[in-house]
């Protein structure tokens, strides 16, 4: 009985590929990290050090002057407050509107509701510049230019597509039987939405809250268009404005960027899972 000749390559316990891969990923990570590290380093160095080409070296001593400069600048707290006054209401409002619309589209569809849904969703894809001029004109005629109102309104409206999309998709996973059972018990749609659907949808709302917060906080275009005076600027426009004031004070600029990014960084690091989920959910199901 001839033994069949089968090659017997044994599974190696040590896989050199893993090491090669790790080195590849590590190098790429370094490359990716460099810009961020640059900002970190700049914020703890003096302008002199930076100008003499010592930005990219590990500092011997940490220089706190940049942060002190930023934090004692009276404009900075105002920028922060303005940004908060814009970001929080706009985030909350857009989610509320998205919840309402998403509920109807998933649980109370009607003839033409799919078309309406598509129209709303497509709002996500268009460049905001398309509606820039009419909105400017609109708020100008209301005398609201150089207030925070137009920014809040526009972000609320522009948040509706993504919020509606995610809420509709999430509500779709809430079993219809649950809604029907509640209605048989005598609940109306509002009670179903508030008492049944919403408590089950907290994860989706967390996703939206992180996304909307980050986007609105980071936005530059709308506050640039709608605000003119220094005391109405949000932090991102404020940074650009202060660049003039600190034109060669690179360290101060670095500290400023860092402080301005802190809220979104914190949200990102703590709610990363929600953030990624929102990005991929919105993208894949779009």
């Amino acid at each position: 009985m001839a033994e069949t000749t089968v090659s017997v390559p044994s599974v190696a316990p040590f896989n050199p590929w893993k090491v090669v891969l790790l080195i590849c990923v590590g190098c790429l990570a370094l490359l990716f990290l460099a810009p961020t590290v640059g900002v970190l380093l700049s914020s703890i160095k003096t302008t002199r050090e930076i100008a003499f080409g010592e930005l990219w070296t590990i500092p011997g001593t940490i220089y706190w002057g940049n942060f002190i400069e930023v934090l004692t600048n009276p404009s900075v707290p105002q920028y922060f407050l303005n940004t908060i006054f814009v970001t929080l209401p706009a985030t909350i409002l857009s989610i509320i509107l998205g919840v309402l619309a998403g509920y109807v589209f998933s649980k109370l569809p009607f003839a033409g509701s799919n078309l309406l849904f598509l129209v709303i969703i497509s709002g996500m894809f268009f460049p905001p510049q398309v509606i820039l001029i009419p909105l400017f004109q609109f708020f100008n005629s209301l005398g609201l230019i150089d207030t925070l109102w137009p920014i809040i309104c526009v972000h609320t409206a522009l948040g509706i597509p993504i919020c509606t999309l995610l809420m509709r998709n999430f509500f779709a996973t809430v079993p219809n039987a649950l809604r029907e059972a509640a209605i048989l018990e005598g609940a109306n749609e509002w009670q179903v939405l508030i008492r049944v659907a919403l408590p089950l949808s907290l994860p989706a709302i967390a996703v939206l809250a992180t996304l909307q917060f980050t986007w609105i906080w980071n936005d530059f275009l709308w506050p640039l268009i709608f605000t003119q005076s220094d005391e109405k600027r949000t932090i991102m426009v404020g940074i650009v404005n202060l660049k003039g004031q600190y034109s060669v004070a690179w360290g101060v600029q670095g500290a400023l960027s860092l402080i301005a990014s802190l809220p979104t960084l914190i949200v990102f690091l703590f709610f990363q899972r929600y953030f990624i989920k929102g990005m991929t959910m919105g993208a894949v199901k779009g």
Partner: protein, 358 residues
């Protein structure tokens, strides 16, 4: 020479032991079915044979070669997945020829082999379609096609029929039997459905909790299950189990079931005053006049299946209902008081730990 030999194979995930010291031999050309309830380890064992999982103990031989440390692709096994695992972006022809393409065989050779396989499986006119355009049964054939094209030593089927509807399942069962007859190849088929096991297998291995409970031909398992688990698992409707008591009366052993006493034959001498479990298949019970039976019972539910009637009866003094298979002309109605006669030569007696007593 055995085509497949497992020597003391074990597998644990962490502290969880899924396969415990399994030894088995499969001869060339045999059709083997692994059957057992879900979670019994049968699918894991299949994955150990393919090499998709590695064993934590023991050795695996395929075609006489120790393949325990061999990569799946070099084990000369082919597997048909429960979900068929067809590539949605490839046509039927490309799916079937997938392995040959990976092996960089010339396109003409691949085309020729694919055609031959497609002819065998009667899917020749589907070759240019994508899996998304196929029915469940057609996908199944394509999956089988991909497995036979490389003429492997051992074919492995992981519950391949469970995604099909009942009618199609019967058809595909016949199809697979036909395929086996034609290829005369070694096949291992995993299922939780004992009917599939009974109809397909040359030999069945019954698994429970990571161990082989019993192996043998379908009729062996049906007629002489070696323990209560196998007895209850094989056969549909399932075997009845009645609580019984063995008593010695004079030089006879008597079996007490409910209110009746039956005489056991001479071979049964070893136990006395023991609580046992009496197994009897539904076809070995007869419904008679209430006075003429071994026990009295009340008919609870009737299921008329056309060729036969399945009756569920409540015996006095016994909590679980029993199942009886009756000829269709036999008329009983729910609520009726009847007598039940046991064909005691078909008793399977099991001890309290489930092992067979005689």
């Amino acid at each position: 020479m055995a085509d497949l030999h497992l020597d003391n194979v074990s597998k644990s995930f962490g502290t969880l032991e899924v396969i415990r010291n399994v030894c088995l031999d499969v001869a060339h050309g045999e059709f083997i079915v692994f059957v057992g309830p879900s979670g019994c380890g049968k699918s894991t064992l299949l994955r150990l044979i393919t090499g998709l999982e590695s064993v934590t103990g023991g050795r695996i031989f395929i075609g006489g070669v120790d393949v325990t440390q061999v990569r799946p692709s070099d084990r000369r096994v082919a597997m048909v997945f429960q979900s068929y695992a067809l590539f949605p972006h490839l046509t039927v022809a490309e799916n079937i020829g997938f392995g040959l393409r990976l092996a960089k065989r010339p396109a003409a050779v691949i085309r020729q082999r694919v055609d031959a396989v497609a002819r065998t499986l009667r899917i020749k006119d589907l070759l240019d379609r994508k899996p998304g355009q196929l029915s469940g049964g057609q996908r199944q054939r394509v999956a089988i096609g991909r497995s036979i094209i490389r003429s492997p030593e051992v074919f492995l089927f992981d519950e391949p029929l469970s995604n099909l509807d009942a009618a199609l399942r019967v058809l595909m069962r016949l199809e697979i039997t036909r395929l086996h007859n034609r290829l005369q190849a070694t096949m291992i088929f995993v299922t939780h459905d004992q009917t599939e096991a009974m109809t397909l297998a040359d030999r069945i291995y019954v698994f429970n909790q990571g161990r082989i409970e019993q192996s043998g031909t379908p009729m062996d398992l049906y007629n002489s299950p070696s323990n209560r688990f196998v007895a209850g698992f094989i056969g549909s409707p399932a075997m009845n189990f009645l609580p019984g008591k063995v008593e010695q009366t004079g030089d006879h052993m008597m079996l007490k079931i409910g209110s009746t006493r039956l005489r056991l034959d001479q071979s049964f001498t070893s136990v006395s005053h023991r609580e046992i479990s009496v197994g009897i298949r539904p076809e070995h019970l007869r419904v008679v006049e209430s006075s003429a039976g071994h026990v009295r019972a009340e008919v609870e539910i009737i299921e008329e299946l056309g060729a036969e009637v399945i009756a569920y009866l409540q015996i006095e003094g016994i909590s679980d209902p029993i199942t009886i298979r009756l000829p269709p002309q036999r008329h009983v109605v729910p609520g009726q008081q009847v007598g039940v006669r046991f064909a005691s030569e078909h008793f399977h007696l099991f001890g309290s730990n489930g092992t067979r007593l005689c």
